[in-house]
Symmetry: C2
Subunit: 295 residues, 2 copies
């Protein structure tokens, strides 16, 4: 069994990105610049945004964090988005989700100009992904594809079973792994809450991607020997006696399942650390797209 | 075994559409208007376009057919598209594919304004489909969903196996049947040219959608008793002694497979006649969208 080390892989990619930034600057280019908007001060969102800003610094990107109070109107927020859309120095823009209930996440997402939508949530970018056109792949699917690629895991002709049909993980992952490329060329089965006898499918999987948000859902008797397991779950479960009082659990019962796997991602330290890398990579891609259009 | 009669279903929907048009006109609305561009005079394309124009007439739509010689430049074609984009009387625009090799189909497709893209090929509309947002569903996937719905075929919790991952059939059908709605909520497996042991999957299918373009590919021993078969294949095969010298064959060996099916679409007369209906429905939808924005 090989443990897929997302933390280490993320560090490797960040080091590569830092070199690319140096290279751009040496050639007279500009520093990549990511802008992030945070509305309100939800604890988890604060943590996510802080790590994104920190990651930018680490690879030599500029970052701008724009904060709005939680009672900001949708109009004010959209105005800021429109302003950043036009700001030539900013290459990527993310709006940290979730947003307060009085603001439409859909409207905000669709207002970000697709060329700066480094989260890959704009319908135009989702459509390009489905059509196998160059685009920004969103964070978690990107992280999964990178892990498969960096560990040189064979995917062609394999049966990949994806559990969970969310717009941000299950659905794009199933599309990406079906494509005629590497990683890809899998026969993909997409399972979800309406799938009866889910074990029937998971037992057939050569590659199992689990993204349903139920801690410890996948047990050893649900997988076959030699399976590759990608665990996307991150749920806080109470852990009395620990410092934080909780721990992070994946959707896979790691202790039971790991011995049967050829490869498995741990939680934490698997897919999680890769998501921020996607954001950085997309921001750099946005800058390169701009350069290739201007030249 | 119930034969799914696409021809009859298409006629029923056309009659419904004709009533809707009457209703719109009675209420002082305008007649839906579809514009079609045909470049060159490929035989099959001429036939398709002619049936589209005829179908418009039948349901009371206006239609405009714009012809270009096959040596038209990409620029001239794009100019015409831009002109139609701005023409307020035209609700839907299609450009008949394939185009001559010197013209980029991608560029043309992406130049049609998404609000008039009644073929549903623009990346923005594909993205909306993937995100389960209201959009124009493209012709064949739309036809398949309508047939499932009109024959009240149960889909929730069923295992649907789709063969073929094309952008215009397999991929969107797999997305549509995964969605949390009716028809949908299927566990979907997408198979393609890189799937080994394809029978392993087809034998498990409750619903089998076949779109790979190999006449007679699916045999009786590849399906289980009671399966629902949707045959998207339309290949001309030589048939000496017939009037035309050829006949149209589907991807399913109908004579062998039909006795095992609960439902099956014939070829011709199954999915085929439904595709033009999709175009009409989308054109009407485009007009209604305009009305709902203006009011």
């Amino acid at each position: 069994m090989i443990l897929i080390d997302g933390k280490q892989t993320a560090e490797t990619i960040k080091a590569e990105l830092a070199l690319e930034v140096e290279h751009i600057l040496k050639n007279g280019g500009k520093r990549p610049h990511l802008a992030a908007i945070l509305v309100g001060n939800d604890g988890a969102s604060e943590t996510y945004i802080a790590s994104k800003v920190k990651a930018c610094k680490k690879v030599g990107f500029n970052s701008t964090l724009i904060r709005f109070p939680s009672d900001t109107s949708e109009e004010e927020l959209l105005e800021e988005v429109l302003k950043i859309n036009k700001d030539e120095d900013i290459d990527g823009l993310i709006v940290q989700l979730p947003l307060p209930k009085h603001i439409s996440e859909k409207k905000v997402t669709e207002t970000i100009v697709p060329e700066k939508d480094v989260d890959g949530f704009h319908p135009l970018n989702v459509g390009k992904l489905a059509l196998n056109l160059p685009t920004f792949v969103s964070a978690t699917p990107y992280g999964i594809m990178q892990l498969l690629e960096r560990y040189r895991i064979e995917t062609a002709g394999k049966h990949c079973v994806v559990i969970g049909r969310s717009n941000i993980v299950g659905s794009p992952v199933s599309i990406l792994l079906s494509r005629n490329t590497y990683p890809g060329n899998c026969t993909v089965t997409l399972c979800h809450s309406r799938t009866p006898d889910i074990e029937k499918y998971t037992r057939e999987a050569d590659i199992l991607v689990v993204a349903l948000g139920k801690p410890g859902f996948v047990k050893a008797n649900m997988v076959k020997q030699g399976v590759v397991v990608i665990d996307v779950g991150i749920t806080r479960v109470e852990a009395p006696g620990t410092d934080k009082g909780y721990r992070i659990m994946g959707d896979v019962d790691f202790d039971e399942v790991a011995p049967k796997c050829s490869y498995i991602t741990p939680v934490p330290g698997g897919v999680g650390p890769m998501t921020i890398v996607a954001l950085l990579k997309n921001t750099l891609l946005s800058l390169s797209n701009k350069l290739s259009i201007n030249h």
